[in-house]
Symmetry: C2
Subunit: 495 residues, 2 copies
């Protein structure tokens, strides 16, 4: 008879195989599926979610967890059991009726939003959003009761276990003391520089080839992954078969190129998660923000650095043809342009945190019940004015209606973008310390020592350690936003 | 409380949704997946099979079937219940240990065969095949005991419910009385004709565009399906999202073109299965041979007809460029060439049945225990000599080792190819009778009346009727191989 822990492992192995099928069917849906397949696909995926929820919330799983906690386990199994308990708690915490109601309200709100956003219809949208917020508060309350935390902290914990609004208030608060000033200085500085913009068209095939070239340099394993096209870029699939996507615009190649670098960062993390624990929760990526730190490490720390851009420039010229805009200094300036604007997903590295902090402050207050949905637009206008000097009054479409996250109630997600950026800066600083000749290596495209460091310090650990412990082990300290500031000042002010 | 029948419907609805995920993951595996994903994919698909088997063989399903059989049901529900019982019986009939042993022996034999075939290694192959045959006989015996039939008939019933070796012996026996003569006459006749062969290269993109053109003419619904590329062409996916594939050879475009027509025949059947019963067994395709009849209706009856080829010729010239080989008569001759050869999958319409009958005779005797694996090569040589005048002695690779079917124990499948060809000829004759101006309509590319007939007589019925009843309703008589002979003589001798 196998032990309680072994039985749990078998159950999670099975769940992981089912997730494999959902993940691949999900990628197919975004990249390949003809439109008419969408309803049947949605039903099939939903049926699978129901099954997985049934398996996960079976009372026997709870009993096995209690039993397994009495077993003597090694460190990895113990960490795995923690993750198993977490998954079980998350799944059993919410009554099925609430999960279903939230899923329906979210689908409805998101579906309507696809029309309401272009129509700038805040009135129509806010009516649906109120229902989503009502149900999200209900969810948050149940989670908070179980965690002994505040409502928003309980939602935050879903995406970033261990993170709290107290930590975010302090981290983001500090950031707010210097970011607007820095932004202004950089915008001023850059206004003195001339920039030549590349002239297209840039054929899709050439852009794809460039993407593949860069993925090779970044160590993407094509035996266990692919590059495809989708309307919204993502990294999906399973560690053995990681699918990343981009979208192409023939007038402009930098977006697709940087997008591919970003998704390759996610992909390398997935591809290098610990093989020996595959199928178990402990083999999964640590958290949303750690995942984002890997994509931003590749895109922001490495990908937009002068050294890396110079390394890639010959390939860029081969695929796009040489032209004045591809002169080395100009090419670097192009990828490091700072331009505060309305839209988060188009934001540069320096404006991005302003978009995130604003959303964090609003969603936290919303979930805690300090504000209501009707208060969002005015707050949005005020904060955009303060942080980026941009007037969004009456412009809901490019303001508080621009993102998909709130439509289906993903409150607590936004902070992970900027946490990821901060982790990435801190990790890159640690890599610099560990590899003194780093700049030369990057210029030569010899990134293996960097990958080895990431493998040693992040990838191979999966969810074995808490985020805090992982970062501490890797860099010698807890989250320190100083490195992010230093990175931004260094790149945008002192270069 | 829902009735037993309703509960069964819900269970099969769920199974159907799970099959959706497996089907899409299966298509992805053949068309898209990087090689390194194969092991994890195989495990995920196997886990799903195990789950489906568990759900299907649950004792409660048996009880519900017995209960539902006492209910008063309408005709369709009654037919559905028959299919449900059939699925339940098929699944519960075999002990899990046998299913697993056969699956392992089959995988092993198939895997080794991929090397053994090119190496012409009969000795190595036959050792593995013996184990597959041993387990297949065991399976056949269990099925035979349950059906009260012979062993081979019980396997036949898996692919073609209602078909027996007695019927096949008579049908195929009759065919053997005239086929070799007809073949010889046609080969002689064609040897008098000059044929100009098209000169390539034919770019893959042009071939793909031509395929898409033809699929449009054949009414393929691109909102619910796609054309992709795979090593072995197939029609897969689900009725709401049918995936067909082909493979391209730049030296030659006719194979891919005819292959696309063939798979489009399968696809139209799938896409037009009854929507109102989706998710239930009664909404599935009737049988393997009826499925093949739809592909061969499109490929052989329609696709290789002079009228259809003339209709498509302008598109062929647009995509491939004009050249002497594309002169109308020559183009028809090209697609109707008869050349007896070693390989079944490369065979023309006239030689194909000879390949099938030979395999049928050997596999029937093998399963019934009248011959052993060691007897296969001599029998193969003898029958190839008799039917096609071809010497295969010592050439196992292009002889009895050429097909994948026996490697994993799919005994009983081969006859469905020629049954499908016979059904197709009989159906086409009925269409001719129903639509007197058929030739003109085909020449004009107005195939809607043909599709309407197929929809009315075949597609919309799913598995509502037995194969025999379906054919009787559609054509006024049971399987009559006379139409197949008539078709072949008409096309190849009297044209």
């Amino acid at each position: 008879m196998s032990s309680a822990y072994q039985q749990l492992s078998a159950i999670f192995q099975r769940l992981s195989r089912f997730s494999h099928l959902s993940a691949i069917a999900g990628c197919d849906m975004q990249t390949t599926m003809p439109p008419g397949g969408s309803r049947a696909r949605g039903e099939a995926l939903a049926e699978m979610s129901v099954l997985q929820h049934e398996i996960l919330t079976d009372k026997r799983v709870g009993d096995l967890i209690q039993e397994a906690e009495q077993q003597s386990l090694n460190d990895v199994d113990r960490a795995n059991l923690l993750e198993i308990r977490r998954a079980y708690q998350q799944a059993t915490l919410l009554p099925a009726s609430l999960v279903e109601a939230k899923s329906i309200a979210g689908s409805h709100c998101e579906h309507a939003w696809r029309q309401q956003r272009p129509a700038n219809d805040w009135k129509g949208f806010s009516a649906n959003l109120k229902e989503v917020v009502r149900l999200s508060r209900e969810e948050a309350q149940l989670r908070a009761d179980a965690n002994g935390s505040s409502r928003y902290d309980a939602l935050l914990d879903v995406f970033e276990p261990g993170m709290t609004s107290a930590k975010l208030d302090s981290t983001f608060g500090e950031l707010k003391t210097w970011l607007p000033d820095l932004l202004q200085q950089v915008v001023e500085k850059q206004s003195q520089q001339e920039i030549i913009h590349p002239k297209g068209p840039f054929p899709v095939n050439a852009q794809r080839e460039l993407g593949l070239d860069i993925m090779k340099v970044l160590g993407f394993d094509f035996n266990h992954g692919r590059l495809d096209v989708s309307a919204h870029p993502f990294c999906g699939g399973v560690p053995e078969d990681v699918r990343i996507t981009t979208r192409y615009n023939e007038n402009e190649f930098l977006s697709a190129m940087m997008g591919v670098i970003h998704e390759t960062g996610h992909a390398r993390y997935e591809q290098n998660l610990p093989q020996q624990w595959r199928g178990q929760p402990v083999a999964l990526a640590r958290s949303t923000a750690i995942h984002e730190s890997q994509s931003l490490f590749m895109e922001m720390q490495l990908g937009r650095s002068r050294e890396f851009l110079q390394r890639m420039l010959p390939q860029v010229k081969i695929q796009m043809g040489d032209q004045p805009a591809l002169q080395s200094d100009n090419f670097v300036r192009l990828t490091q342009q700072v331009k505060p604007g309305y839209i988060r997903v188009d934001a540069d590295e320096l404006s991005y945190p302003a978009h995130v902090v604003l959303r964090y402050e609003i969603e936290r207050a919303l979930i805690e019940g300090e504000i209501e949905v009707d208060d969002i637009p005015a707050l949005w206008d005020e904060k955009m004015q303060q942080s980026l000097g941009i007037d969004t009054r009456g412009n809901y479409r490019d303001g508080c209606m621009q993102d998909i996250h709130w439509t289906d109630g993903a409150f607590g997600y936004f902070p992970t973008y900027t946490l990821g950026a901060m982790y990435a800066a801190q990790l890159f600083q640690a890599v610099k310390k560990a590899i003194p000749q780093l700049s030369e290596l990057i210029r030569e495209g010899d990134l293996q020592p960097v990958f080895n460091w990431l493998q040693q310090n992040i990838w191979q650990h999966g969810s074995r350690f808490s985020t805090e412990q992982l970062l501490l082990n890797a860099t010698g300290e807890a989250l320190n936003p100083h490195y992010f500031r230093q990175h931004l000042e260094q790149r945008y002010l002192h270069n």
